[in-house]
Subunit: 794 residues, 2 copies
Amino acid sequence: MERRQRETSLDDDEPAMVHVDASNESASYNQPPPDRDPEDDETVLDNTPPIFSKYGDFHTIDWQRDLARDRMRHKLISGKRREWPIGLFESAWDSGAGWLCVLLVGLAAGATAGTIDIAARWMSDLKNGICADRFWLDREHCCWSSNSTIYKDFDCPAWTTWPEMFNIYTKSPFYYTVDFLFYVGWAMLMAGVAVLLVKTFAPYACGSGIPEVKCILSGFVIRGYLGKWTFIIKSVSLILVTSAGLSLGKEGPMVHLACCIGNIFSYLFPKYGMNEAKKREILSASAAAGVSVAFGAPIGGVMFSLEEASYYFPLKTMWRSFFCALVAGIILRIVNPFGSDQTSLFHVDYMMKWTFFELIPFAMLGIWGGILGSIFIYLNLRWSRFRKTNPLIGRNHINEVLLVTLFTSVISYFNPYMRKNGSSLITQLFDRCGPEDFMSDLCDYQNKTASNIKVDDNYHTGSFGTGVQTAVWQLIIALIFKMVFTVFTFGIKIPCGLFIPSLAMGAISGRLLGLLMEAVTKTIQIPDGHTEWWSCQIGKDCVMPGLYAMVGAAAVLGGVTRMTVSLVVIMFELTGSLEFIVPTMVAVMFAKWVGDATHKQGVYEAHIELNGYPFLDNKGEYPYSIVASQVMRPHKGDNELCVITQDGMTLGDMEALLRETDFNGYPVVVSRSSMYLVGFCTRRDLQLALHSARKTQPYVVTASVVYFTTNVPDSTVVGGPAPLRLRKLVDLAPMTITDQMPMETVIDMFRKLGLRQVLVTKSGKALGIITKKDMLEFMRHGENYPGISNPNFQ
Amino acid sequence: MERRQRETSLDDDEPAMVHVDASNESASYNQPPPDRDPEDDETVLDNTPPIFSKYGDFHTIDWQRDLARDRMRHKLISGKRREWPIGLFESAWDSGAGWLCVLLVGLAAGATAGTIDIAARWMSDLKNGICADRFWLDREHCCWSSNSTIYKDFDCPAWTTWPEMFNIYTKSPFYYTVDFLFYVGWAMLMAGVAVLLVKTFAPYACGSGIPEVKCILSGFVIRGYLGKWTFIIKSVSLILVTSAGLSLGKEGPMVHLACCIGNIFSYLFPKYGMNEAKKREILSASAAAGVSVAFGAPIGGVMFSLEEASYYFPLKTMWRSFFCALVAGIILRIVNPFGSDQTSLFHVDYMMKWTFFELIPFAMLGIWGGILGSIFIYLNLRWSRFRKTNPLIGRNHINEVLLVTLFTSVISYFNPYMRKNGSSLITQLFDRCGPEDFMSDLCDYQNKTASNIKVDDNYHTGSFGTGVQTAVWQLIIALIFKMVFTVFTFGIKIPCGLFIPSLAMGAISGRLLGLLMEAVTKTIQIPDGHTEWWSCQIGKDCVMPGLYAMVGAAAVLGGVTRMTVSLVVIMFELTGSLEFIVPTMVAVMFAKWVGDATHKQGVYEAHIELNGYPFLDNKGEYPYSIVASQVMRPHKGDNELCVITQDGMTLGDMEALLRETDFNGYPVVVSRSSMYLVGFCTRRDLQLALHSARKTQPYVVTASVVYFTTNVPDSTVVGGPAPLRLRKLVDLAPMTITDQMPMETVIDMFRKLGLRQVLVTKSGKALGIITKKDMLEFMRHGENYPGISNPNFQ
């Protein structure tokens, strides 16, 4: 966070005018973030026109004000509707703008995803070799174009490996050494280029981006996080790191990229670009499109946006998100990066049914997913904290990436399951053993080797061959190393998603359990064919290891991210069958329960907390019996509340107040003795107004009384210096609560109304203030919150 | 509404203890509903213990208080967790209760839906004949069991029509007369029994129930609306009226039935049964299960619950709703009412693709759907209003039902498409012409008659035969009469849903347009086979009239109900293919736009308004520039705000206030001169407290001062009568806003926080009050609201 803050300027590529909001609101209340440049404020003060201010970087937006502003704008345009033709056109354009914008976002997101997929496929194969005739083809297309029929995962003559390029054809140790060196070399090169790009051009392009997107959607402002440089650099480096074979996925970053697209396009429509709250409607739709293209699951994308990403998600936005996700999905299908007609990342097509008995292993997978997820989050957090505090790593991000890449590529080279890229591994594990898997270890069943090739959909019967044993060991090793690598990879300074590694770990676990189950059922099957409790047809396998892999993948992803509905819907869209929702749902349910019991937060929430973003979680329940007066500031024993009186302070007092305190706003009261609340005034407005008064109104002196009321005494009559009238600065409708309001209701108000602060009153008198930061602090500490003097109050 | 109110007692079957809420809150603020019995309050006052009060019938619940109460309960149980084993068990039971409850609801909803489907099928066929050997089989199963291979819609020997029962085998006019009389007679009998059942036992069982369910979920209390009698009577009469062949569907009532199940099961779990706000979580899940079983679309059900039905829908509830909908769907599949393995109501399986050019007719269908929907709503509303005001119909509900049934059955008898029940008609229209449709008029293509039977999936090529012309005319007639009948049917005193009639009207329109498109493309197809702009394979039809029917169905349903995402998701789950979402989405989008432009409200909202339910719509946007002081009561020129002072009123004053005013609550202020707001006290609490004080505290006399403060002067010292201490009655944390708060923010607060009233203050002084009723009044009248003296205020 500290580093990022400094690096922002590099990426702050949005046009300056965009930040100038046409209203008087400013940044979040109370203390500015500790790492904020003090000169920042000054610059703004000098360069922007006095009335217009913008949200500061790393500040929270005020939803209610932004939306109110949009309603005013809308009213203005609606009023013009009768002015034919310009008014009518403007009105039509205004109402169509949202749809047009999400359409463009959908188109762009689909095209981007398609391009990245194609490029990553080609570059990924580059580690192994190149298509001799047509270098621009990846291995699969290369082999297709050469018309040689091959089995899965085997090389065709047209595909030239690197040793072969150097005329080494015999599979000698030398051949393998060259192959190995090329493999590792390419990986290091790709990862190195990627980290250099990120470090040089767009530091925000690293990571999965989902925690930040969540924060941005909840109303946080991170300048340049969704800018065009971030988009370009993240796209390019995403291709590079995916191809480098690191243990990361491109699905999470795809959501970030889609949001970048949404942000960029929103500037075409001032309605959205100029209004942070409205812009978040477009961003919600973009997040849906991101998941839609990542998994080929439009409905899952909308559910993801609803469940995970979005904060303010009215039904109109949901409908648009759906449209956006659908357009993106359709475009991806037209681009057709996988060369098949499937939009979904791993299309599976099982013919068999599962039995109710199998819900037990599915639930076990869920429990395992929850545990594995929690362990992963715990280790990853430990390492991330160590990285943050350790100056050695802090200074050597590039070396860290290269080191991780070196280890990953060296070890992955020797394990066929780790060497594959994540999504093909998952596809293989999800799949049933078909006739085309004839050379695969995983499908080495004995009756197959007897008749060699037996083309039958359900031919993987019989007992395991030795190949399966090899495969099991390799899978176990792959699982362990995947886990270790992912812990170290998630958080390094390159784009890295978590979906694919999590799914891969889950798929491996699931496939292993599936094989075990298969072995067990074979052993206990009653020889004479009466299999009452096991309702299978005799001679056919009822256990589908592929289904177990799928369920396991969902379980581990659920354990890591704590997604629920969206995860099940995505899995449903992958399989397209209602039949397999139940196993997935059972596993995800158990993963969520066990995960929540072992590590309270999901990985995104944990990283949000780690980075200290002010994110007010909208899921948890907080059964405290604490009232507002115990949480508000000033706490008991602190100084009294810092207020402005409506007509009793001089300009000098005011300037002293601004100098001595650093609160971002002040309640305005009738008088310091009565403390009856009138309104609220933000620090920035006050600063700008006083500054401009000093400059432009020479008769205003330090002893001038500042009036926030309408009836200002005429100074020529009463004598004394000319008064300063600042009535317009005061927000006369601040959110207020009473001191006895239960904190759950206050939390609800913050969440649902998107507040930045509330003022606490008692019988009309201002008592204190609760800001979003206080809320977060309180929710983190619960009943140990410093302000709570007596926990047994109620 | 007036009638219902009186009839409530019949159906008020819930145990009395259930209504006794363990808190002090009472009913909605200000005037009680005009049609409320005045003696009602008296009864409650006498019979219930003084501290416990319940929500009145037709009153609104207080979400925040109910949820706070649940949090207290939860805290209590969590605290006991360490008391092994009872505390631990209680805690586990408490956290598992929600899941168990929705599981039970899912199971019951699935089973109910299955039973109703099977019974309705059998009884529906009873109008035509009976299975001679096994009377308990419907026609399809009868013919299956007799093993005679038949074509669709043709009778097998085992199936005996009514004339055949009387040994009339020749198809003479006499045969048809007997057949006709039996058809009409059965229909009249079934509808008559249904309306008698409804009228006698459960008046709430009539209608679709969705408008009321929406209101209930938004926090309205309608006693007995979800009771067991309503459930039983609605199930039985639903079977009867569906079988009577009326133009109505059982899908809407299925949602109502599922909610009844939810309500009934929630009483097994006091956590839900005793807390109206928590109960609504279960009801939301139930609504999802209802749609899930109605259409075989679990995700669509959740989306429906989210989009249409629910008000308070946290993510936890969504996850449970999903589970509930899924369980219900699985159970329905196990019951297997349709004898196939499909859970969805109309499973379609198109092999062909649509072209982008076809989006134009799809959009046209959308426009048509919007217009048709608006016309339908307009006519139905006109008729419903007429029915409400006309005493003749008001007294003759039974005759009305019989008359509608008579007309419907007489006319339907002569039209094969109207004679079918709704869902088979829709299935037929959605379907492509396959080899099994050989005798159908709709699939009478000329090349088929040439070679008689040509078994090919795509065999419906060639030009239309005369059969198609007949079919077109019959379909047009069916469309017109469906429309007319549905207008008169929706609203009569029997269970009647709108989904199926709307879908049927849409499917007919769509199929007609599809046939037209087919004819057009055939005419303009270039003879030499170059069909550049029409990317079809030559010799094959590219226009699928079935797809048009599906799109049309979605469009009309969208026009009538104004559903968006949920409708598209339901359609997606029906077809199971992403391919056809785009046409559906385009049509639904246009239907929504055109519908909203021609008739602002959907049919449910219109009926909610017609019945005067206090439903605060959570969708619309209200771009007013009006502030709270213009809406609050007292309006300008009215009497001043009716308040209670915290220590300045005597018991006599208080009683006079209660006698003279009928507000449901009073703000408590410091003194009448200062008006600084202290809290809020409800009428019912005050009434009960004063009543009990008079009874139990003889030293409290009319001149006793009532104190709402902690420091009560000792009467023995200061003299005078003994004071009455009522501090505990005051809610010290009422929701307050300032007079300058924009109304949009106030609307947002009401919607999102589920408020019943807010107090309006200015500089800490109580100025007025805005209740939910005022809000609704304001939203209905907009800027013409009576309180707004100066519309150009801001």
